[in-house]
């Protein structure tokens, strides 16, 4: 799966939780889930669960800790896909 495919999938996953829609316009690795998209932190846990479902991976607590940007999520997904 290419970087772009992964990022597009992440975008689709986060969309229902985004409170600042403007942040979706420029959706890139630097996009911050909390600051740019204003996803609340309980919903960020939902994002983690949806990512697990979409990519059929398990995100452990240590990985979840650092999942704050699109780029963070992308690296975690890539790492988990590789060791699957």
């Amino acid at each position: 799966m290419s970087d772009k495919e992964i990022i597009n999938k992440i975008k689709k996953i986060v969309e229902p939780y985004v409170q600042r829609l403007e942040g979706l316009k420029n959706f890139q690795e630097e996009t911050d889930f909390l600051n740019d998209l204003q996803i609340n932190s309980a919903n960020l846990v939902d994002v983690v669960l949806d990512v697990e479902d979409e990519f059929d991976i398990e995100i452990d607590n240590d990985s979840m800790e650092g999942m704050l940007t699109v780029g963070d999520a992308k690296s975690i997904i890539e790492r988990k896909l590789m060791t699957r």
């Binding site: 309980a42 960020l44 846990v45 939902d46 669960l49 607590n61 800790e65 650092g66 704050l68």
Partner: protein, 186 residues
Amino acid sequence: MIGNDIIDLKIARAEGKSDDTRFIDKVFTEFERSLILNSQDPELHLWILWSMKEAAYKAHQRIYDLPRKLNPRSYECQYFHQENSGKVSIGSFEYSIDVQTTSEYIHSITSSGALIQMAFFNGQTSRSELLARFLSINSIEMDEIKLYKDFNGVPSIPLKNSPKKLPISLSHHGNFTAFAIPLINS
């Protein structure tokens, strides 16, 4: 030291998280899970513990200049229903939390001193407008109504004619916005 969190129960209750075992596993410890599932109102209990964790997280992050983390399970709660209070421990640190629960919202707060706090109910008013009102009620003067955020994103109020910054904790959920500032510098 200060940290607060508000939950709009109308929105939170609609989430039905107390039936979501995967969510519970990611967020709560074994001990907390038994508190939630054995309570008379698991959904309410779940959100009380969540807001306590958030309040403790904000205080802990501020005191120790910590980078942001999504690690709710590392914060373990004890909740004393009759006293409307609780304790949250993270490693060897412990935070006492006051919890206010109404039919409409939950507000959790921890602080090291006396404090001013408010909860607003207003879906229409912008956050900066609420902040301006909050500051004016408390006779705090700023050059511009804009919060300062440090490199970890922790907010404070740059005071007018002073190099000092006043710590502030703010929380917004659904129709509720809550601000908290310490009266004594802490």
